[in-house]
Symmetry: D2
Amino acid sequence: MASEIIELSGHIIDSWTLPRAWDIIMDRGGDFLIQEIQVGKHKSEPSYVRMEIKADDEQTLDLILSELQQLGAMLVNGHDVRTARVEQRGVLPEGFYSTTNLPTQVRLGGQWVDVEHIEMDVAIVIDREHRRAYCKPMHEVEVGDEVVVGHEGIRVQSFERAREREIFAFMQSDVSSEKAKILMIQHIARQMQETRARGGKILFVLGPAVIHTGAGRYVAELIRRGYVQVIFGGNAIVTHDVEAALFGTSLGVDLRTGEQVEGGHRNHLRAINAIRAVGSLEKAVEVGLLREGLIYEAIKHQVPLVLAGSIRDDGPMPGVITDMQEAQRQMRRALPGVEMAIMVASMLHAIATGNLLPATVRTVVVDINPAVVTKLADRGSFQAAGLVTDAELFLRELVEALRHEGAFPDAAGLQAEAGHTQR
Amino acid sequence: MASEIIELSGHIIDSWTLPRAWDIIMDRGGDFLIQEIQVGKHKSEPSYVRMEIKADDEQTLDLILSELQQLGAMLVNGHDVRTARVEQRGVLPEGFYSTTNLPTQVRLGGQWVDVEHIEMDVAIVIDREHRRAYCKPMHEVEVGDEVVVGHEGIRVQSFERAREREIFAFMQSDVSSEKAKILMIQHIARQMQETRARGGKILFVLGPAVIHTGAGRYVAELIRRGYVQVIFGGNAIVTHDVEAALFGTSLGVDLRTGEQVEGGHRNHLRAINAIRAVGSLEKAVEVGLLREGLIYEAIKHQVPLVLAGSIRDDGPMPGVITDMQEAQRQMRRALPGVEMAIMVASMLHAIATGNLLPATVRTVVVDINPAVVTKLADRGSFQAAGLVTDAELFLRELVEALRHEGAFPDAAGLQAEAGHTQR
Amino acid sequence: MASEIIELSGHIIDSWTLPRAWDIIMDRGGDFLIQEIQVGKHKSEPSYVRMEIKADDEQTLDLILSELQQLGAMLVNGHDVRTARVEQRGVLPEGFYSTTNLPTQVRLGGQWVDVEHIEMDVAIVIDREHRRAYCKPMHEVEVGDEVVVGHEGIRVQSFERAREREIFAFMQSDVSSEKAKILMIQHIARQMQETRARGGKILFVLGPAVIHTGAGRYVAELIRRGYVQVIFGGNAIVTHDVEAALFGTSLGVDLRTGEQVEGGHRNHLRAINAIRAVGSLEKAVEVGLLREGLIYEAIKHQVPLVLAGSIRDDGPMPGVITDMQEAQRQMRRALPGVEMAIMVASMLHAIATGNLLPATVRTVVVDINPAVVTKLADRGSFQAAGLVTDAELFLRELVEALRHEGAFPDAAGLQAEAGHTQR
Amino acid sequence: MASEIIELSGHIIDSWTLPRAWDIIMDRGGDFLIQEIQVGKHKSEPSYVRMEIKADDEQTLDLILSELQQLGAMLVNGHDVRTARVEQRGVLPEGFYSTTNLPTQVRLGGQWVDVEHIEMDVAIVIDREHRRAYCKPMHEVEVGDEVVVGHEGIRVQSFERAREREIFAFMQSDVSSEKAKILMIQHIARQMQETRARGGKILFVLGPAVIHTGAGRYVAELIRRGYVQVIFGGNAIVTHDVEAALFGTSLGVDLRTGEQVEGGHRNHLRAINAIRAVGSLEKAVEVGLLREGLIYEAIKHQVPLVLAGSIRDDGPMPGVITDMQEAQRQMRRALPGVEMAIMVASMLHAIATGNLLPATVRTVVVDINPAVVTKLADRGSFQAAGLVTDAELFLRELVEALRHEGAFPDAAGLQAEAGHTQR
């Protein structure tokens, strides 16, 4: 019989932490004995519980503890974090600890140290000399790296659910197209303003439908207005945006009339070929070849673009990273400072981004397919919200909501410049 | 060996009528011999073909002819339409002709007579005395009714595809969320204006998500502006609209804040109960109980509402027709004069309406689920167009597009009155 | 300041009853003071809590209490249930109590009396003379009926989550097509056997795709084997089943070859007309017109069929109920004894059935569209499970799983008789 | 005014080639004058048309001709193919011809030469010395390559629709879950047998849901039976298959019980780490670490696996190609000899494969999401068929259908070995 004593404290009842803990213990076949419980008599009071966890064997207890840890449980007999050395390049030691995307600390020499740039499903490497702990993906570990193993001396900061009622909570409650999206869009607009006001960065992850539907102009507007600090995308969105800028089409469909003007495939290949001929997207802007569109605005306003390729790509467009590990590396490099992520009509790039984001980043997932939204928004965080809605109309209304909030003090009507000019 | 000679004329190449005819003949195991063919040398010239159709037996020939008929084929040796008497109430005679939703004529005494109020899958009854032909559903035929049988003396006016390129054609091309919807919405707005300008009626078929998403206000606006002449819906939309008007909620969700204010189920039952207590929706408006919302505006502006029930209904709300045959009858009665139908976030009522509409009515189907749009828009007509998009944002943009087109000459900004008042 | 003292007991921690209670209180703006709490030290021990609930006003307190009631909360100062008389036919008294689908009791003369045939969203009528309480839908209440109002003297038996791990729980956890369905189908087969072994009835709710996909034969097999006691459906399924039996087609598609044999619409109208001519489905079996198919087997094996119409119906087929309130009445009448409900490829009829079923009936919802499964399976009960899968292959595998479990002791291979005969 | 004379011949009416040609001409604003037309009097006779195509300018004419070419149109005044030299590495010359996936020939020295390994959206390079023409993607062209430009001297072999009615045609007709899938699966099984009988290769493109649903065993069975010659997949499917083989779970869900056994993320990382430790998948089989599953069988039976990575990957597993251009290259290398492609529950890899496959490869796309099937099956070929159905049940029934067809002469019942062993 294996056992361990843990503590949970804070708004553990309000945030369903305690019942989830009980659930885990029983689901995994363990048992618990409450040694002390203090339930906050009022909602403003924190609660506290100390429990002995028991299981038939050490392995089961380990599983239970590793899951409780993600809820913020701490072992009472707190030892330092345990580590092991990497002995083979790109291979983790037995029993390696794999991270969650929640803020995490490790105990080094009796003191808690933050794990830097936390992300999901990676290892924690300890740098004892500088008292640092940071994340490393499996394929980047080097021989000699000191990697965290087991579950002692690790503290995960579970989310406490915000008690004030807020629309993010409402958006999370379930994924359905039958909800009032205007309300949510207005809320997102307000969050964007607050994020920018405190200097936080906003990341957009964009799929090619943004261009096909003619919604690139709204993102361009957001870039001009300072609401986009980083863009993640792929070969398709940049290709179609350049195609739109050079030929007025997206996959051969005229974006002003909606008509198929031509075979279509030729235009996107011609667009790629034209940029390849000048050498880069930046050069194409410089020489005046590329004069409008989302990519043009991003380059003009020095918004970093990380363009990650995939096996379905034609071309590719210069600037698209064809090695996936390099692409992940550049995405990681662009993330510090990002406080809000808006993912629109993207699946591959959105999932990839979701894997890298800490849970503290407010994430909005917009797609017309409820299965995509469910998959993306359901990453175990209170910070991700999903909208099952139309990408084009979402972006249009988002621009409108920001304008209405006074975010564009000098702006004339959007309609005039964007939506209604095609006669 | 059975054979028959038919003619096809008009833009039969342009509209793919001729190849479709060949296709049918061969798919059904028949054969054809071209007796005369004149292909319009230019696109403005009509074409003409006379063919002998052959099949192994009369039954196969009959099948082929009945399908060719729907493409506009005419038998050369044109006899009068054949009929048989109904001998049993609600039962059609053997070999009855079942209609398409295309404009149809029958030959009576050597002359072509229009079939009145054509709709799909019903019988044609002949009134020789008044030289009339009209539709009757199976369950309404009476003993002695003279019903069309076979396929002689029947002429169906096939659609000729409009050559000028138009957005309706584009919208029909395929059902996808990855198309520029603003373009389509602006086109629909223009169609609505043209329809109203020539005195045509516009029918809205609405599902309850219109209310849940807070989009009822946009329909209310369209009613006030004279863009809604008939509404078809069910118990749910009226219940949730009244719930919204009386309690500010839809299924218990506060439409101003997006929060669940209460158990929810109680509010919709309370709404129904309140209207039942005063007796009718009209009375509720009269006594001042119902003072806003889509239903209120419809009653104030004398827009006919046909509310057809279903087995999933609670209540029902007074005014909801619980007998399905009576509901169909009232829907039929409301259709004359309708030239455009806009179906939003509805499946049951939209399919039912689609069954009753002649193919000449321009139909727009809007739903976020592509399967619903495909099912509804694909009714064999060049007049139905589908948008895979968000019902709420569609209606919002439709109002905006109409305003922008100058359809609301006196109107202040919609934002002020509608979308942004909830602070 | 309004307050009331309530008790919760049982596996209230395990079943998340207590945290949900706290959640409700705080979401609704109330407060609570724990007077006594006993947490079961082990998972086998029940827990108990007594709390004082406070709110700013009586109305808020009422809301909180009515929601807590659904979790099984009991007021400590237990009065008898309160009632009011119906004064207007079909209209409930102010403050009426609307039911959940959970087992419910009311206190009459200090004693708890079960509410008979509980279903959702209806009123409870008290018959003091016979000490009975039963459900009545709003439109059926008569002047003088004594209807329950408020929330005193009502006890709702909340579900306690079964602690033994079971596949139903697993199926409920989330709706996804990416789960091992064979496991679930085998589990359902075992549940069906157990249900039949103890004399429980199994209800099938079927949509027309069951016939279109050729899966009618599997349901026919289940009827022959005694695994179907009640069938709910609509005009479409019966029409297409009869079409298949008479003409070998479904919507004109040959079920043996998959080819469109003809215009299609004619066959389904001919099928309806043929049954109308003999008078009824039963008569059609009797005279030898209908000799195979799902409906034939149901009639032969005296399985009650409740066929509820809708406004999209052609015909309708004799036996289809066109009045919705009558249809609901007949559905209610067929439910006693039903312990398991299997809903396949149906939306309208499945929702309607879901509204009438008590939460104690094990419900399985099968549809290829995840949105339908989510909508149907998510009715607040631990007893509903959803499978996002193919209706045809589900039914085929269900028959196979029952056979494999030895449920068809004398059966030769299914393949021979069903799936592989079409050469 | 620009003009050109073209010829079309063969079953151009039957296959709708002629009307599509007229359509293109008129849609693009051109005009035509029929110089000679011979319509086959019977369906077995080929037809012939010679037309003059006119347009306002050369550019429009070019567009029309390039589209007509894809229908098999030939310029009467046939010149040799025109070419231009590549002057910049990875950049195509102005006016480059981009391929379709249809069989294509170019005229060299007056004679028609087949373009080798045709695929879509690439350039054609001419090797005059060896009288060869072959495809090259844009990024692989080298300075000096002689690339085809314009549209002269190119002949595309359009598909003629098979007149015998066949289930592939039926499967293509529309994408719907409401069709009889058993019929289609049996047809696919027969196609697979025929393909193998004539020595053709069968390619499987597989998504991770194949493993999550426990359907890996059916693919393993197909490998053992010789029905899989090439596999394309990604990091996820191989990781989850290895996880299943090593730990019995897929994403942490026990495949025998359907229960979540543990945090889950750890198991897939442990699986990757274990294979990284031994060095490769092949080595893992050799040393006895990997002893069952789809990957094990593929390695044992020497079925080539091309595993293409993506940015969402963890790990990655050894053998997964992280550079996208290298991955495409290896996919291309594995394609020769492939005559049938079966794509199950994959989107990214299926699209990528679709881009590389010639239109002559019979392609079956299986997914439960109709949008995915539509996107993939609709690649302008008569050879792609889509099934909206469950991946797991599809594969299970496919194995069953092959067994029933006698494809596994010695095989005992599948149920015993696969589906029903988990007690």
